[in-house]
Symmetry: C2
Subunit: 141 residues, 2 copies
């Protein structure tokens, strides 16, 4: 199978497939006489696995780790689970960051309605007041 067909079957772009090869997520395939990449069904499965992992927002490094472990069916899956645990924890952390941020933004936004002028804008005043409180210039004047 040539790269275009593989792209169609996986829903990944041709560039992305070549990118994964450069990143060593996907083994370099055989080449035809005219130097075209020629893929097996194994490559298709591997790519779908990678795609699924990416849809879980795993980084390429994380996927790399899991793929490496996966090649030895007798090895322990401790590494895979540790990677997942770390990943779950990262996401939990990011969610709580974003929740806090959302709260701040909403309260900030509530300080202004749309028909004010810039000099009266509640949002800008809120930012400015934080800036002023951190700005040593005031104290040096």
């Amino acid at each position: 199978m040539k790269i275009g067909q593989l792209a169609d079957k996986t829903g990944l772009s041709i560039q992305t497939i070549r990118f994964y090869e450069r990143k060593a997520l996907l083994a370099a395939p055989q080449r035809t006489q005219s130097n075209y990449r020629s893929y097996s069904d194994e490559a298709l499965k591997q790519l779908l696995f990678i795609k699924q992992c990416r849809s879980l927002d795993m980084t390429i490094e994380e996927i790399s780790l899991v793929l490496e472990t996966r090649t030895n069916p007798e090895s322990s899956c401790e590494n895979v689970n540790a990677t997942m645990d770390k990943h779950i924890d990262d996401i939990k952390h990011r969610i709580s960051e974003l929740n806090a941020l959302q709260k701040t933004l909403k309260s900030m936004r509530a300080a202004c309605n749309d028909d004010k002028k810039i000099k009266e804008c509640g949002v800008l005043h809120r930012i400015d007041s934080i800036v002023d409180s951190h700005c040593p210039a005031k104290r040096n004047d």
Copy 2:
């Protein structure tokens, strides 16, 4: 004030300050005879404003927009508020994506404990089963 002092006062790195200048968030300052950047207190305030916006996870483009509007105190703050609304919405969207993702990951992770072998790993089986269901290779055999 030279760039190093400005970096100390803002808590930004020297490179970041120069980066913001390249991105036109910060006006190019005057230069000394030896070509060193020489900053006013205005620049300090501007940088603290930018830093605060970045801590709100606003993109440089969003900050640019707000800064531009901000220069005219008589203009309407509609743009600022529209930017904030869009930003709040983006974050809301991202949070719900991450929540869904977290749920998937946790349920996946629950399918395996640490002392299994790779071939028995519940996490990998869950990924594989999704892959298999999307893989046309099976049907072509």
